[in-house]
């Protein structure tokens, strides 16, 4: 049952990144792909109806996490105290930017919120990538299962006092930034037309190149620094399906972007993001929060609540999730039907 909940939490988090990923990416690129006011408004029209629902996946992950793995929830959130709050503030800034831009018809007002929309959208993927890299690297967990990380120390991932930012986590942060920017470009190519779409396609290709380079760099440094992350792939070779999916997605992103086929390119970048995250989760299992001293690691077994709680939680979660999926398909079905047109 612990394993099932591990899969549920991973599923929710991956859904969050894939979904919010495209609107974060769109926000990151909008200053570049949309130059004029009407183009910017077209981007906001694409993001507007879905961003809030996408962020609900984050809240749902938080709920699932505290239900199933209270010790993990307590340790990770208090340990990443400072970056968590920075993420909250970025989410505030971004959400507000989307909502208030149109309330005043003034070019300065618009420019300001366009910039904050960009800033929030660009920094969040970087923060998420860095956080994930911290988990891969391992955390200085005490025997009581808690830790606290400063934002940076000596920038050495193998240091005895690691900080949140080191050269390894920074690489993964940039990987996340470029991967989601490309995902966002593909989303805009699907949802818009005209100039915005043409520029989004260009960024889809150049973003793909950057993602490719950083994927290689990130993967190589992960396995060079932390060879034990390969163990699960040797032990359970079926797990290779996840990195293969990511590779397929990566290849598809380039292939379809070059041919200008927007929908397959968008699906490929979603597959790539999901595949990369699933590979990461697979390589961590059964750890959920690995410690620099492996004896202190939190695993699905020592961080979870009782089986009774997990079973009851699963029943209510499944019922809720069926309903949530229904609302989700209704909304997306409605809003993805037609392309957004810019209007003069």
């Amino acid at each position: 049952m612990e394993t099932i909940w591990f899969i549920v939490v991973c599923f929710l988090l991956i859904s969050y990144v894939v979904l919010d990923g495209f609107d974060l990416g769109a926000g990151t690129l909008h200053l570049l792909v949309a130059r004029e006011d009407r183009e910017r408004r077209a981007v906001l029209m694409a993001v507007g109806p879905v961003w809030d629902g996408n962020e609900v996946a984050l809240v749902a992950s938080g709920g699932a996490l505290i239900l199933a793995f209270p010790s993990l929830y307590a340790s990770a959130l208090s340990g990443f105290y400072l970056p968590m709050f920075i993420v909250f503030w970025l989410l505030v800034l971004r959400g507000v930017s989307i909502e208030v831009r149109q309330t005043m018809n003034d070019p300065l007002w618009h420019s300001f919120w366009d910039f904050t929309f960009f800033l929030g959208s660009a920094l969040l993927p970087f923060a998420f990538g860095t956080a994930l890299a911290n988990v891969m690297r391992g955390l200085p967990l005490h025997e009581n299962g808690f830790f606290f990380m400063p934002l940076w120390t000596d920038f050495d991932p193998l240091s005895s006092h690691p900080g949140i930012l080191d050269w390894y986590t920074t690489i993964i942060g940039f990987l996340a930034f470029f991967a989601l920017a490309t995902h966002g470009a593909n989303f805009l190519a699907v949802r818009t037309r005209g100039e915005v779409r043409a520029r989004a396609r260009i960024f889809s290709i150049s973003g793909w190149v950057a993602t490719l380079v950083l994927t290689v760099l990130g993967t190589v440094s992960t396995f060079y620094l932390f060879p034990r992350r390969l163990d699960n792939f040797f032990g359970m070779p079926w797990g290779l399906a996840f990195p293969l999916a990511a590779l397929g997605g990566l290849a598809g992103m380039g292939y379809f972007a070059l041919r200008g086929r927007d929908w397959p390119a968008f699906a490929s970048s979603a597959l790539y993001v999901a595949g990369m995250l699933a590979s990461t989760a697979f390589s961590l299992f059964p750890d959920v929060l690995p410690a620099t001293n492996p004896a202190n690691s939190l695993t699905v077994h020592n961080a979870s609540t009782t089986t009774h709680g997990l079973v009851v939680g699963m029943i209510s979660w499944l019922v809720g999730m069926v309903l949530a999926a229904a609302w989700f398909f209704i909304t997306y079905g409605l809003f993805f039907r037609e392309r957004i047109e810019e209007e003069g």
Binding site: S78, G309, G313, S316, W327, I340
Partner: protein, 469 residues
């Protein structure tokens, strides 16, 4: 009742003895600010749903415009509520890590349900309501409004069940390592604390906020002689719903919740009523200054024996004062609880009085719209319900101290063990900055909408750009 002195859950871990007071400011401050928006929205969405029902029956454009206008005020409040709510959901972990670790397996049940049952519903249908205007007729609008109403009230239910567990823990079992786990799901979900009218008390408080906001804005339009037709409609709707809501808040809801407190948390009752000495036939203090030095209410204006009646329905019953309990079980800020409760109750009576008066003037051949003084009162009163709801929560939560989970776990032992004072000052300062910015923006947006008025067809963000084939 478990009031043995020290908590049942002990020895698991010690919380952060220096920082926990700042953790309370962080979490409590965030909650108080956050709740300004959902209480408004939960009330307003009920009124919007009523307007949509009128629209569905009459198909008058007037109602469609009225609903659109309020949705435009609702939407940014929804966004601010969402972005200030995320740090609360995660705040159990960032600031109260020991509490999360101990009780996450229990309260996590409804925290997880809130996401999948309420938030997805609410955000999906709000998107349809705002961006999908062209695609649906009156029925689509009505269904969307209903779904948002169900989603937002459902969300309140799930969060209140977490709070109810903290006030009155049920349905759990204690594990050997000191953590708690779910034992009886239905007992937890149907916590008697929640059903002692606490749920209705909170939701109805939100309805009162919504009614005063609607009536107040309507009064402004009538007084300033613009959009008078809408103004009259807003006043009428706000007063008609508000008179029922504000009367029911006094009785049965408020009264029933106080009686639940007197049964389950006699220390909180003593603190909120300012009773220091146990006595029979205790008077009810209308107002008076509390003195912790003299341990009594100075210069009280009181109704003899009334508290005994209120609490136990017997004019001569014995009410336990704070002296009946050891000092370490007292709330750590008794005056805050006392004044919080007094303010809430007196405001509650004031609301009932104002609404009854307005309703009588309305019934008396619509004299309300000629009684400028009453319209002035309505126009200036919308901030008051926000105050009442906030001080109500301060009473409930400060009165729960020193426990984070009543009788089980002390607040001072529940904070994140390794988050330092410096980090907390940093996030407190940042939080204040963010809230100042959000308040300013919301004021700008709402003032702009009010100036524009319901007739202005400048639209919901969505309609500016056509969605073409």
């Amino acid at each position: 009742m478990i009031l043995s002195g020290s908590g049942v859950v002990v020895g698991l871990l010690q919380g952060n003895s220096e920082a926990w007071v700042l953790d309370r400011w962080q979490f409590g401050g965030n909650l108080l600010y956050h709740y300004l928006y959902p209480q408004f929205n939960m009330g307003i969405i009920l009124l919007i749903f009523i307007i949509e029902t009128l629209h569905l029956r009459t198909r008058k454009d007037f109602y469609r415009k009225a609903a659109d206008f309020w949705v435009k005020i609702f939407a940014p409040a929804f966004v601010i509520g969402a972005v200030t709510g995320i740090p609360l959901e995660f705040g159990f972990g960032t600031n109260w890590a020991i509490f999360s670790k101990v009780s996450g397996g229990v309260i996590g049940q409804t925290l997880a349900m809130e996401g999948v049952f309420a938030f997805f519903l609410e955000s999906a249908f709000l998107a349809i309501y705002i961006y999908g205007q062209d695609m649906f007729g009156a029925w689509g609008r009505w269904v969307s409004a209903l779904a948002i109403l169900v989603g937002s009230w459902g969300s309140a239910y799930f969060i209140l069940s977490v709070n109810a567990w903290m006030q009155h823990p049920v349905g759990y079992e204690k594990l050997p390592d000191g953590q708690l786990a779910l034992k009886h799901f239905w007992e937890f979900l149907l916590n008697p604390w929640l059903y002692s009218h606490q749920l209705e008390h909170v939701l109805n408080g939100a309805v009162i906020t919504g009614c005063f906001a609607m009536a107040g804005l309507g009064a402004f339009y009538v007084l300033s002689g613009r959009d008078v037709e809408y103004g009259r409609f807003f006043v009428t709707l706000g007063v008609v719903v508000g008179v029922f809501a504000s009367l029911m808040q006094v009785w049965p809801f408020g009264d029933a919740e106080s009686r639940a407190v007197s049964e389950q948390q006699p220390i909180k009752l003593a603190a909120q009523e300012g009773v220091f000495d146990t006595e029979r036939g205790a008077p009810w203090v209308l107002i008076g200054q509390i003195s912790m030095e003299q341990q009594k209410i100075v210069n009280p204006v009181e109704i003899p024996r009334f508290l005994s009646f209120l609490a136990y329905r017997d004019w001569n019953s014995r009410v336990e004062g704070l002296d009946a309990f050891p000092k370490k079980l007292w709330p750590d800020n008794v005056p805050f609880v006392y004044y919080g409760f007094r303010s809430m109750v007196l405001l509650g009576f004031l609301f009932a009085g104002m609404m009854v008066l307005a309703a009588l003037l309305l019934l008396w051949g619509g004299r309300l719209f000629r009684a400028r003084w009453m319209l002035w009162v309505l126009m200036l009163s919308p901030p008051l319900p926000f105050v009442a709801n906030s001080v109500g929560w301060i009473t409930a939560e400060t009165g729960r101290q020193p426990w984070i989970a009543y009788g089980l776990l002390r607040t001072s032992q529940s904070a994140s063990p390794l988050v330092g004072v410096g980090s907390l000052y940093f996030t407190l300062a940042g939080m204040l900055g963010v809230f100042a910015l959000l308040s300013l923006l919301y004021a700008v947006i709402v003032l702009g909408l009010i100036r524009g008025g319901p007739e202005e067809e400048q639209e919901l963000e969505g309609e500016e750009l056509k969605v073409g084939g």
